[in-house]
Symmetry: D2
Subunit: 313 residues, 4 copies
């Protein structure tokens, strides 16, 4: 149950069997930092190349293929005041015929600037300052856009995209207080994380949230001999499953199927019960419709499961 | 501002230029009833053929192509106690390889039965009674699954599917208190509605909600000379737009594009402001991934628009 | 076995239970004409409104729901010299990010003009005359872009789109010498046809072929009590099935499934044989990736079926 | 212009910056071998693990990011007599509701056996021998299912899937006589190839062709400073471009866009000419609808380009 403080010396723009950054044990907590999606750190200096550089990998002792890695986000905090975002809804999110009507900014002027006030819990649009919006002030809701483990078949996969190993999922639910489950494909699991957002809209339809460097604390655990097919998670209110694919239909199918597996395996539901419960109580959250693989989350309120179980035989 | 009570004498399994059931004027309120998706009425008698039979059409005086029809749902109440649903998550919502593992019920045993208690505000699973779930009690949240106007090009479109005229969208947000905007394609608009649900899960992944007959009161209005491309709506908290298509990506594109149009046309936002606002504040709700066209809803919190406008010049 | 000459007096922009234009019997042949997609006839006069106006409907005596209508195209000939097409590959066929780089022509200058020389069997680009292409001369390959029967559930469906009743499929294989099978959903079947092309590229990626009015001769027959799910056809070399849907994946799924049904029902193949045959001998042809529903055709060489059957027990 | 004979000592189940197997120079020819998709060699011994093991990588001297690698398949020959295939059309190619009606074979009985007679130029179904097909004899048409170069961002990507670096595309056109163009992302390009098929149906709807080990000869060249976005190729009749993605729509979009780029960059076509030519002369070939990314090929007959250019100014 050690507590590690880890200052990254290098970053990766892909997730795979990179050389271990830190070896930790189940139950350990790590305090570390992440740079933003373009490689800028807490001092707003570019310390590595752009493209969702990730911190890690963390080698979890005892993790073996077929296990599940459990990551709890104990703390996620923006580590600087300046955030940035893109400025235009991306073509993947609009009608094909409408793409030419989008307000394509100049290549040199693609970024909006935001001021993050962690104490006030706000992010405020700073530039452009001359839109018809006037002020735009949003709450902070820090999240990790990209997290995952080394993929199957010794693959090394870009942090721009995502699959069953996790990756660039851009889901708002990967926030402080969330516990995330990832399938382990290689010894040590090799957990990576990065691409923090101080806030993000659903669907990440611009292609960014409000991008920021983060101070992160997370705790890892293992479920030995317990495999899963797609990332899962839970928070106070929900259990959830994450599907990453295109089109959104397929992402939805992965998430729904994984939830059917989960509630039948771990919550003692027979097929009849699992289908009636999920069929009537599922909620969905569009995480991103921008990355090479889109992400859809299937959520089930814990209150429904508890009630079902309580009232059960 | 008349109030009409209309008892349907016939129903349609399609939306189009059927002979007018009742002529009403802008500002009028109609109290009427709908049968359930298999044609069963408040007495649980089958009074018309199965397949989402709809009440109407209502001819709105003065409605002309290019206008927008405004429908406010003043009251939506289940009109009987027995509801029904399917029992299995449908293949469109699961991985292709998983379809053969679904618990396909016998054709003669496809329906679950539910007890609706409108006073208690609950719907309870009655049959099957032997699942591992034990009891499953959900709140009532009555909604209209299918509503729309006569389509473009004098089409007559099945109430199983949906498009820009509305139709079988199965969106939980078409509930009491909601105001819905529909494009007018023919004189009189010809509004139809039916397929009530006492409750429905997001995505309607079983292919049904808890199907029920309804008592309905709605009020119509017109926005003359104001056209829209896709159904829109609003409630206390949100404005929303509805895209109907396959794959979900395309449904999402229609909804997002329609929202971009709306906030630029009606809320005095320039493109820069509209994109930053929607890009960071959009929410999405999966309405159905079952019908021939899937439905995705793009929502924008009214609080964000108001704040933006208030703080603006 | 009558031969009818039918001069259309009116046209429809949708397919459904329109009033019968001509009643014919199984075995009868009809010589008639079609206008082009914008309603221009053999004299290049606009005689009806734009939007794929179709000739018909032809009521086939004895056709009942559950039968299959058989239509043989005995003759398809361009009936004038001027054809037209669009000039730009459409956004549905290119990467979303590329849409803004397309050479969007002015709304008033969207059409290219072509000269059809039926005797020489050529179509030649006339205007624009100043492209870097210089001349572009293609062979004539006349086809009917839009053909179908009244849909299920008394629907009336726009001739812009297509579904299991046929419609705007824009498949090059609907040409002289082809025999087409369509499911019958209403008494009389109500066959419509129009939207002739002197030539069309695969995928119809511009949204048009070389649009032309046609002289058509076709012969109808019925397969009583024999239902099909999707349009089918055959020519000298192939049997084929037609799937209409979005995305292309779904269109492909319909076509493939329909072919699996066909070869098991009509060619005495067991599942093992049907799967091995189709799995190794299927060919696919992209008909259109432009219409509201895309069209994919699954083809099976007759030589493979004959050989399989000949060598069989 | 050396000629190398290379006997692979190891294989990879992914494409990336693996240690170089052989360094060659532009103009060089390599004679080598590939094992089949399950790792069986010319003696039908399993020499490496299953899952499309590939031969290579071949380091091409002078290849740098931004170049194009040119690979000509001089010879592709089956190197043994026994081939195998799956036996069932896969769920991705059929309607979701139809999946449960597929003839799922036992896990232990998933493979059909084929006899390849290279001299006679035939492949014949050996087992199962009791289908209603009787004999099924197909011509040999050897092709390489999986070929590619190390991907962007130092990724290592499974040979089960494909992207812009190539990979498991399963296109029948990667056959003897074809020249293939691949974008170079890393120094040396690192060309890999494997997964030979003696024959394959279009769409690879079973998930396999007739899988076989191959004797291969290929010659490499470079186009220095000339980048491409997606794999391209040519043969006697066509130039072609290859899009790899899901859904098929997106694969089609990549292929079409890449062809528009190609004909404008290399064939001196202005946008007006390029669009008219491709819009009317494109052909499409469905390569696979089975792999994690589907593959669609856009083809343009060389005769059309030559004629256009000859007739041009």
């Amino acid at each position: 149950m050690a507590r590690h403080t880890f200052e990254p010396a290098r970053y990766f723009n892909s997730i795979g069997s990179h050389s271990t950054a830190l070896t930790i044990a189940p139950g350990d907590t790590v305090a570390t930092t992440t740079v933003d999606g373009r490689g800028f750190d807490a001092q707003d200096n570019q310390v590595t190349q752009s493209g969702n550089p990730v911190t890690g990998p963390f080698y979890i002792e005892g993790a073996e293929p077929g296990d599940t890695l459990v990551v709890s986000f104990d703390k996620l905090r923006p580590s600087r005041r300046r955030g940035w975002s893109f400025k235009m809804v991306w073509p993947t999110a609009v009608e094909p015929e409408y793409v030419r009507h989008l307000p394509w900014p100049d290549e040199s002027d693609r970024l909006a600037t935001w001021e993050v006030d962690a104490e006030a819990g706000t992010v405020e649009l700073v530039r452009p300052s001359d839109t018809s919006l006037g002020a735009l002030v949003l709450p902070t809701a820090p999240m990790v856009g990209c997290l995952g483990v080394a993929p199957i078949r010794e693959q090394v996969i870009s942090t721009r995209t995502c699959s069953n190993h996790g990756g660039n999922m851009d889901y708002r639910g990967f926030c402080e207080g969330a516990t995330i489950y990832l399938p382990v494909f290689v010894a040590g699991a090799l957990f990576h994380l990065g691409d923090g957002h101080a806030w993000q809209g659903q669907g990440e339809i611009m292609g960014t949230g409000i991008e920021i460097s983060l101070d992160v604390e997370f705790t890892v655990n293992l479920r030995k001999g317990k495999g899963i097919c797609w990332p899962r998670g839970e928070n106070n209110g929900y259990i959830f499953t994450v599907g990453n694919a295109r089109p959104l239909d397929q992402a939805t199918q992965h998430a729904t199927t994984e939830m059917l597996r989960w509630i039948q395996e771990d919550f003692e539901l027979d097929p009849a019960g699992a289908h009636l419960l999920l069929g009537h109580c599922a909620e969905y959250e569009l995480a991103n419709i921008y990355n090479p693989s889109f992400t859809m989350v299937c959520k089930l309120p814990k209150s429904r499961i508890a009630r079902s179980q309580r009232d059960g035989p």
